[in-house]
Symmetry: C2
Subunit: 226 residues, 2 copies
């Protein structure tokens, strides 16, 4: 499958690496490839991953059958606007970003929050996309290798398009997520709930001193008769 | 121990019932006892719990060595204002409420949210209280009987006063919480994180069709050396 991973930070690189290891054809999208390659950290990663091309957002989006939003939540709309609506139409966008706002320091707040979410904002702004919010509630190494955290734990799905969610489920299974760990919360509105896990996630990371943890919904069995 | 449970809804009654069953001396506080007893649901519960007195907020607060805030989050400041600062000074307030705002319908939003929390608001408004935020991330029947949800799951603690948190820990153990399930997030500021679990909690209840579930932090072991 051809993927476009939008965003060149640790999250985008970690997902791109995993997709390549599963045999997918991956292009990473960025605003300015020259500027990205001038970052030592990216250049080093690029050298270790010669099979991953780096391209402007529009070229990456044209390449991808499926898009992954791994940009910072405050710049996701701008990135997808650069990607060009013609390259988005009908495609699945796996939105793993969070609308973290660091403008007031650490810990960040969220914007939007509570009566809106980044997932909804993207679906509303780019109606041709089929947005599936998932994986945004954990560290990126856990996203692509759930066995890093021992025991059962949960990955949530939110989105309007059943076929899109089905295809994202298959990708999650290929990352190592057991079927029982995937919890479909319903429509994209439910992304409000998963994005609002970030504040406690950040405080847990501080308290525990590491990021190899995840939320598990204990007792998450549907009521009898469902 | 003498407890004042502020709030006459299902949460307050469930906690009061459990405290009585553990041998504590409990008074429930309300704005207007006559109006509360005129509610058939409360009158019925009162009849089954003759050992629990119902009193105005101030009388209940005077009675309690420890206070439990089980009022609606939008009226908690008003309730504690009626309770009278003289009856609050130096006491532990176990804040199990959430600032749910139903003014725009269901699902509710939160107010305050993100850059403030009900726990902080109460600590700031009533500096004589030692506020401990806990138990607000689950259904009230799970609060007082964690075994309703099979397996390990988590109850969070937030607060500024170490002695107050220690005494609340003891109460949680007496409710049936294993020591390993109590996760101290730090100061009262961390209540932002636990209160912001409510949006996903409400959506999970809708998806699962029941309330016998809880969050578990899988992998919540402190880093080596801590």
């Amino acid at each position: 499958m051809r993927y476009a991973v939008l965003g060149t930070g640790i999250v985008g690189r970690t997902v791109a690496d995993r997709l390549v290891s599963l045999g997918h054809d991956v292009v990473i999208g960025t605003r300015d490839p020259g500027a990205t390659l001038a970052r030592a950290e990216y250049a080093e990663w690029q050298e270790a991953h010669p099979q991953v091309a780096l391209a402007p957002f529009a070229d990456a989006a044209r390449h991808g059958d499926v898009l992954v939003n791994a940009t910072g939540g405050q710049v996701s709309v701008a990135a997808l606007t650069e990607a060009d609506a013609a390259h988005l139409d009908g495609k699945v966008l796996i939105d793993i970003a969070n609308p973290l706002d660091f403008s007031r320091g650490f810990p960040p707040t969220l914007d939007p929050v509570d009566d809106d979410s980044l997932g909804e904002l993207l679906q509303r702004t780019f109606p041709g996309l089929r947005v599936v919010k998932t994986l945004n509630t954990m560290n990126c190494r856990v996203m692509v290798d759930p066995a890093r955290v021992p025991g059962e734990h949960t990955v949530f799905l939110s989105g309007e398009d059943a076929d899109a969610k089905k295809s994202v489920r298959e990708l999650l299974y290929s990352f190592g997520w057991p079927e029982a760990s995937v919890l479909d919360l319903g429509g994209i509105e439910s992304a409000r709930g998963t994005e609002m896990l970030l504040p406690i996630w950040l405080r847990l990371m501080g308290t525990l001193g590491h990021a190899d943890f995840n939320f598990h919904i204990q007792g998450a069995t549907a009521a009898a008769g469902d």
